[in-house]
């Protein structure tokens, strides 16, 4: 179906975009890559009266590293991430996952700001980024604030952003030494994932024991879910089939997937359990391979 009628505005600065959004909180929507928004409009789920294109705002598309932090501008596309040498060098888990995200055309246009700001439950980046304790920088007309990415997500398609706020930057600190991370996604015939699971493990180089862990699930609840109990189950232990199975069971119970046309709730829990087990094993392997390397 064709798109509904709307007015199209190109913002040239963050304050300008923010002001426009503040004035028409119900009617205006941010248009970045448009991949998610246009889909929604075509299905008539959204009928915004104004689209505010933020892509003409200069200085929001970059990938930098300084002071041990990788900074990614909100307008950076999936494609930029996929082929960025800097990402490949410092956050290879993202280069590894990107070819599986959506399809090449969505990746060419879809932005990281849109991926996070849209807060769709079926996405890949949030669990990985949360497992790396990513922060986002959020700005409105006059103020800027920094918040843990985990705090952005409130519910299905719902964020803690105020209508006039934009995500401007994503920050990821370089992984600590002896940290390994693995993201596994399960999908069935679709461009979108059914279940995603990110596990980060930091080990003590001497004892090989896990000193810190991150277990984050995607697609199995209204928001990405950090399963702290599963993390605790891994801490203080070396890699063991039993402990990873235990963490996996905890995760499978902790999440709240919905039965939908692709799979039932039980099946998604079963997949969470499998992915978690496999991801824990690989994350441990990666953490300890850094020992040798």
């Amino acid at each position: 179906m064709g798109l509904n009628r709307f007015e199209y505005i190109e913002a040239s600065s963050i304050p300008e975009a923010s002001r426009f959004l503040a004035d028409r909180p119900e009617e205006a929507r941010i248009y970045a890559g448009g991949t998610s928004l246009l889909l929604l409009m075509k299905q008539r789920i959204a009928r915004p009266a104004y689209l505010v294109n933020i892509k003409k705002i200069p200085g929001l598309r970059y990938i930098d590293k300084n002071d041990g932090t990788v900074r990614i501008g909100a307008l950076t596309t999936h494609h930029d991430l996929e082929f960025s040498p800097l990402i490949r060098r410092w956050l290879p888990v993202i280069s590894e996952l990107e070819p599986e995200v959506a399809n090449i055309r969505v990746r060419s246009t879809g932005t990281i700001g849109g991926n996070l700001g849209f807060a769709e439950p079926l996405t890949d980046l949030p669990p990985v980024l949360i497992a790396m304790d990513a922060r986002i920088k959020v700005a409105d007309e006059s103020l800027e604030r920094l918040l843990p990415l985990e705090h952005l997500f409130r519910g299905y398609y719902e964020t803690s952003l105020r209508p006039q706020e934009l995500i401007t930057e994503i920050q990821v600190d370089l992984p600590a030494p002896f940290f390994g991370i693995k993201y596994l996604r399960f999908s069935m015939g679709s461009d979108k994932p059914l279940v995603g699971c990110a596990v980060g493990i930091r080990i003590d180089p001497e004892s090989k024991l896990c000193v810190d862990a991150r277990c984050v699930l995607g697609c199995v609840g209204p928001t990405p879910l950090r399963v702290r109990e599963a993390e605790e189950a891994l801490k203080g232990l070396p890699y063991r089939v039993n402990s990873s199975a235990k963490a996996a069971r905890i995760a499978a119970t902790a999440c709240s997937p919905l039965t939908d046309l692709r799979a039932t709730e039980e099946y998604k829990r079963a997949i969470v359990e499998v992915l978690m087990r496999r991801a824990v094993e690989e994350a441990f392997r990666r953490a300890s391979s850094k020992l040798q390397g």
């Binding site: 179906m1 064709g2 889909l39 399960f186 069935m188 015939g189 679709s190 461009d191 979108k192 046309l261 799979a263 039932t264 099946y267 079963a270 997949i271 499998v274």
Partner: protein, 783 residues
Amino acid sequence: MQDNVGQSIKRLESESKVSGELKYLSDLKLPGMLHCKALRSPYAHARIVRIDSQRAAKFSGVEGVLTRDDMVDNPHFDSHYGPVLKDQTVVALDKVRYVGDLVAAVAATRLDIAEEALDLIEVEYEELGAVFSFEEALAENAPLLHEQVSKPEHGFVDLADVNPVEGTNICTTFHLSKGDLEKGFQNSDFVFENVFTCPSAQHAALETLCAVARLERNGGLTIWSTVQNPFVIRDQIAELFHLPVSKVRVIALNIGGGYGSKLYPKLEPLVAALAWKTRKPVGLTLTREEVFQTITKHAAEIHLKTGVTREGRLLARQCRIYLDTGAYAEIGPRVAKKSGYTAAGPYNIPNIQIDSCLVYTNKVPAGAFRGFGVSQSAWAHESEMDLIARALQMDPLELRQKNLLEEGGEFATGEHVHSFGLRQCVERVASALQWGEKCPPPPQKHLARGKGMACLIKATITPSISSALVRLNEDGSATVYVGTADVGQGSDTIMAQIVSQELAIPVTHVQVVHSDTDLCLYDLTTSSSRSTFHMGRAVQLAAQDIRRQLACLAGRLWNCPVEEVLFANQGVRCVVNDVVHAASYRNLLSASFGIKGANLVGKGTVKTEAVQRNGEPLTSAFWFAGAGAAEVEVDRETGSVRVVRYASAADVGKAINPFFCEQQLKGGAITGIGLALMEQLVYQDGLLINPNFLDYNLARFLDIPEEIIPILVERAHEEGPYGAKGVGETALIPVAPAIANAIEDAVGVRVTDLPITPEKVLRALQEKEQKAQLLEGPTPGRS
């Protein structure tokens, strides 16, 4: 000559296809064309209490609104149509029967205006009870979809016996029996009973449905449509509009994939009625969602009961098939018949009873789908074959070999099959996958591999008729006129190859004019994998007609016997008294007629009968045989299935273009993998909830096997051109059961309802494990 029959030449239209120049219907615009948009029912079953389109009609840019008010007592056209039963209406009259049923339509100068005007049509519905499952539809006192149904004036001969069962939702039934079923079961050592189900699916041709109609000055109608059988559309529109067929012209351009979805009237009655009302050309292109709401594949439930001896001889088989045709019969009755014929499988079984029942429900109508009902029945009988083999501890290949229908064998219908290379198909797919050798164990523990196979028999529409014209042009080139629609299968090229072979001219000198009811002679349909056999033969006969005429001309010119005239190198030759006479066609024509500009026209007709020469009934002019074998890898922990290798064999009679045949086998295998593993339409209270490609997934590059092995078996058929039969549908049919059988080989579980989702496999694995634990007895510590 390298263009000859048997050569894999490239499609004639190849360049225009890769350059993007080839025009499909939605690429064209008629001057002054209005754009149409349809209003569809939000209810599964409801009475229309009131419909008011005045506001929409007055909306600026709107040129016409079609509602039931235009249908009542209109002397110019009828309200009802349908290829087998006249149960469809141009727009809804008294009630709507599924979510998406046509209620009204707007024609406007712009598409977005038409879309906006829809919101201005006021409709008041009174909801009625609806039926969505076989159980609900067949229950006593079930709400009825159709109270009364009439038949078209000139229906199909093979469907003359189709009759709805009054007072029920049964659209039609089909019965076939042979031998003595009860005795067969009594003599059997084992009797197996299983139920298999397949969901409704969608064809998902990338080009959606599209139609344009124009009212001509003489009161006639010209219709452009994405349609595979233009003559059927012509006849239906003529009957609907009380016009002689000579005043209805139906043209199909190149079609962006059909697979059965582009047969029989879909949008044509609607655009024609709006063109009649507005007196302007009207075009309608469906959105993807609307295509999903227009036509689907029949969901089926199949009950099989099979009696076998200890040695694995099939003695008796009973098949009960329920097919869900949705809200309208469409071509469902033929699907019921075709899946009925073959429900017992391609086996030599002395006692057979088959009953199929076509049921109306308040869902999207189902129609032809690549395989025409046979993929549903083969899913059942081929799954059951492996269940039997497993129980008898016999190799599934061996069980099949013991029972296969052989050349000259008696089929369920009582007739004897000829030109039937099933055994070769079965044995060659088996050896292609090194049947009998264990798959090498995959590196990871949670993965397991296995092999499975399946085979099939399929009929083609019989009786039927196809005619072709070939024109020899004054320069010695030829033009062939065929009603066949090229949906991508390469029929134009095949026809050109046949003309090239017969007239000894290069393929590039053959022009193909296709699927235009004004230019071409009658052809029943491009479906049922019938075009090569029927139209190919008609073209061959037409070309031979030209040869006869050429021989006469040469004979007269050179005073030689016509039998001695030879055809080579774009011309004729004859040796008379040791003198060699030779002339190009061009020269022969101008010499014979004494003037430039003489043509020859040849005509060929193929008509198949319902009775054979020996008096036996003929339900199918020829029988397709095919087989497939799959090697799969199953993830025991997630239930995911990956097809690693697939071999696909079909008896094509003779491969006129081997590459095209192999392409059909490979393409069918890939589509089949999607249908086997993921495709399924999902309804919630009558609402189709996945009518789009985001939610209805098709096989992608990530899902195809590492290797697909196409195998052509050539058992010539005496009536086909050069022995050729057809190949379009055979490849898809065995895929799902072959995969299910391979899964059982790999991990020992059986899925009986399609699609085989990872979830079903995992659940079956879990159940198997639980059973194994129960058998081991109570675990210590628990009592």
